[in-house]
Amino acid sequence: MAKKNKKRRLPKLPADRKIQVLLNGRLVGTVDNAEEFVNKLRADRRAGLLPVGLNFFHNRRAKDVLINCDSGRARRPYVIVEGGKSKLTPALIDQLKNGQMSWGKLVSIGVIEYMDAEEEEASLIALKEDDLTPQHTHLEIDPVTIFGVTVSVLPYPEYNSSPRITMACAMAKQSLGTYTTNFNMRNDSRAHVMFYPQQPLMQTRPYKVLKFAEHAAGQNFVVAITSMMGYNASDALVMSRSAVDRGLGRSIFYKTHETEERRYPGGQRDKFEIPAVTTQGYREEKAYRHLGEDGIAFPEAQVGPKDVLVGKTSPPRFLEEISVFGMVEEKKRENSLSVKGGEEGTVDSVLVTDSLAGHRMVKARIRSIKVPEAGDKFASRHGQKGVIGLLLSQEDMPFTKDGISPDLIINPHAIPSRMTAGHLLEMLGGKAACHTGEFGDTSAFLGDTEDTFRSQMKNLGFDEYGEETLYDGFTGQAIKAKIYIGCIYYQKLHHLVSNKMHVRSRGPVQLLTHQPTEGRAREGGLRFGEMERDCLIGYGASMLIRERLLEESDRTFELVCQKCGSIGVRDHIKNADYCPLCETSQLYQAEMSYAFKLLLDEIKALGIFPRLILKDRA
């Protein structure tokens, strides 16, 4: 261990080594009094004698003075502090307010300066003006500036644990809102738009600066924290069906399908049309019912799974043999664009245009309204996510003495281990905001405090802690415990069950392996993997393994030659079995997995001849 430490230690510099001055990492000279030197440089920069893009740092340990002015350094602005006093005085702030002062001017007169990571190393920066001491060299412009864009709009980050903030950021990016105002004119391959977005009752100052309220991504929910017959256990949510019927959490989902008339070498091309019945791979007539004469579906057509949106025929994959009459028979292949399995909706718009390659192209946008249903995902801005477990009508929801019933009931177990106190505080603040009619401020470190809300609640005649007696919706009896109820901003996240749910009992298999396909889009099965197999072995369930891995997967019957042990063939014309190696021999049918047959083929390709020795099954 000692050896390792030795390696890490910086080489000791000779005591008489001069302090080197490095400009952008290049040695330009030495200096005797580095501190004085750097102070002089800094003063000159602040006085405007040196460019503001310069940064200085005296590294005492390495005996270096670093001067940097090259590109690519991350720099951020700070208010300069002298003698424990911010140089951004109230007078200057007034000037800023009435437009006599500008940012650029503040920088040039030495009130605000930009520092890079190295210069920052030698500074003491206060977060708030109240924290200033004579030792401080700088002051943050505002505590929220220490956060990035995404965190800065989250409420009360200082009350939450940091992993939850990270998660809240990740989830805020998945929330549905108005991602753009011209969504009606766009053809994004998938897009969600919320029906009635609201701005949060509790917002941060950056939220206002960013004008987020103009394209908000969430709604203010009345939330109660209590268990609800187990339907909100393990991060499930109980939502009011009545609120959903009134439009809560409703969104629209657009999906654009596109296809083009491709041209092939040899002058052949695709054609948009209603395929003729003779077309190879013709689907049932019903599938084409939405198409107009041009082979393209009408807008506002109600399309279901596997309905054709654009009828398209393609030339055959291989050149046709010349028929008996000596002419090439015109055969076409069905290649229509259809709605993927499991999806449905209304044709919203149809766009006929040219593709980049210059082919005629159709883009058909399908719209479907997504009403919250069991399985949809919602999250507050505190990393508290959940999935709807039950939609309960308002008459069955608990209610307060004022007749308020919650839109959402979350489980109390979601709180203690995650330590999202901000969630509780936002609920209380939201409740107060509902009644005072004023937005609450939830900016990091400088937001409204609990005391404010408590006195507000008291003045409004509520329990100051936000707890209320709820009455059971089923019996009308008062619930003994007081229940925390408030108003908090919730986001609908774009993980909707209707776009995800998938079942398979029978379905397509892969060409190569004869095993079931994979993935929802291909109507596939769920993989019964190695570890699952091990579990069945461990359990001793031999018959079940066989069923999963063979009977429900790629079982085949192959003919095996008794003499040479290779796979035989059936001659359907002669109606006889034969072994391609022995020609005349006794063949037996053997059950095996197709994957094993493939393995035998691959071993043969290696130059090894695998033989099967058959025995009657005991």
Binding site: M1, R533, D534, G538, G540, S542, I545, R546, E591, S593
Partner: protein
């Protein structure tokens, strides 16, 4: 007998898989925990690195270690225990001073540090004798400096010899790099860095019946395969216990049995247990598929489809659990 029968394992129980899962499941947790213990200096590898070391059967553990228990009075007398420890600890020439080569005269110069010498209670004579015996008879003594003129021709040989001289054992048991006297449940014992069973067993004042080492390979060499199996069980249990993982001892014993079953320690993996399975298909399914298939072809090997893997590959019931029972009567 009464007690054994209810805990006997049923015929066809997949004990291997169950053992693998029982060790593997807490093992995954250990993986997660190991990487989160960043920066904590470990004296001896524990947790996952140690587990891997055991299962891979490395020639020598990363930090070989011994616990030496003492005979007679030394057990309760720290001073005496210290004295034994000092005798055991291997002192090399390099520890007593600086060993450098003198290229101009083709000599090895040994500058001994008198403080270190007295601290370790090593006499000048002792050193000189050892140096004479192994480096060359031509030894000049000048105060604390020894000059040896070895019989070498090239400078390269001189350099090599000098390096070897640094690890020249002066006293103590070889490979025992450091000793600490610790207090255990029944008196003092010595913990050493470095392992050497035969050397320690012969040492004075040592209870040779209770010598412990964490070097499984050495146990196998010195004490035989049964001892190695027990040592393996002990070490595996130790690792899992220190991590607070509760794995039934029988799973560990099965693992140790599998690793030692043919009289020689085998590792788990390509070069050991998995690489020596009976069936061609089972081996090919694990690693180095082509190698196994080609070798099987050269030797015209036949797979009797005895194992689990083979039967799954061809698509038959596995000879385990419910797949084991067959109809006695042919219909």
């Amino acid at each position: 007998m009464m007690k054994i029968s209810p805990i006997k394992v049923a015929v066809g129980e997949a004990v291997g898989i169950v053992a693998a899962q029982s060790i593997g499941e807490p093992g995954t947790q250990m993986t997660m925990r190991t990487f989160h213990y960043a920066g904590v200096a470990e004296q001896v590898p524990t947790g996952l690195p140690r587990l891997i070391e055991l299962v891979d059967v490395r020639k020598e553990p990363k930090k070989p270690l011994m616990d030496i228990y003492l005979k007679g009075a030394a057990k309760d007398d720290e001073k005496k225990a210290q004295a034994i420890a000092a005798d055991i600890e291997s002192i090399t020439l390099g520890r007593l001073g600086e060993v450098v080569e003198d290229f101009t005269q083709k000599k090895i110069v040994i500058e001994l540090d008198p403080d270190e010498m007295s601290h370790l209670r090593v006499e000048m004579d002792e050193v000189r004798k050892k140096v004479k015996a192994s480096l060359g008879t031509d030894v000049e003594t000048d105060g604390n400096t020894l000059r040896v003129k070895p019989k070498v021709n090239s400078l390269r040989m001189l350099r090599r010899l000098t390096n070897r001289a640094k690890s020249l054992p002066i006293r103590g048991v070889e490979r025992i790099r450091r000793c600490v006297v610790l207090k255990g449940k029944d008196g003092f014992f010595i913990r050493t860095a470095g392992s050497n069973i035969s050397g320690i067993m012969k040492a004075e004042g040592v209870d040779s019946t209770r010598v412990y080492t964490n070097d499984i390979k050495e146990v196998e060499k010195m004490l035989g395969i049964e001892a190695a199996r027990n040592a393996l069980v002990h070490e595996l249990k130790q690792v899992l216990d220190t991590q607070g993982l509760n794995v039934d001892i029988r799973h560990i014993m099965l693992l140790a049995d599998a690793m030692t079953m043919n009289g020689q320690i085998k590792s788990i993996g390509r070069h050991g247990l998995s690489g020596q399975k009976a069936g061609v298909l089972a081996r090919a399914a694990f690693e180095e598929t082509v190698k196994h298939l080609v070798n099987a072809a050269i030797q015209a090997e036949e797979d009797r489809l005895i194992g689990v893997t083979e039967n799954i590959i061809v698509g038959q019931t596995v000879p385990l659990g419910t797949g084991l029972v067959k109809l006695k009567m042919k219909i």
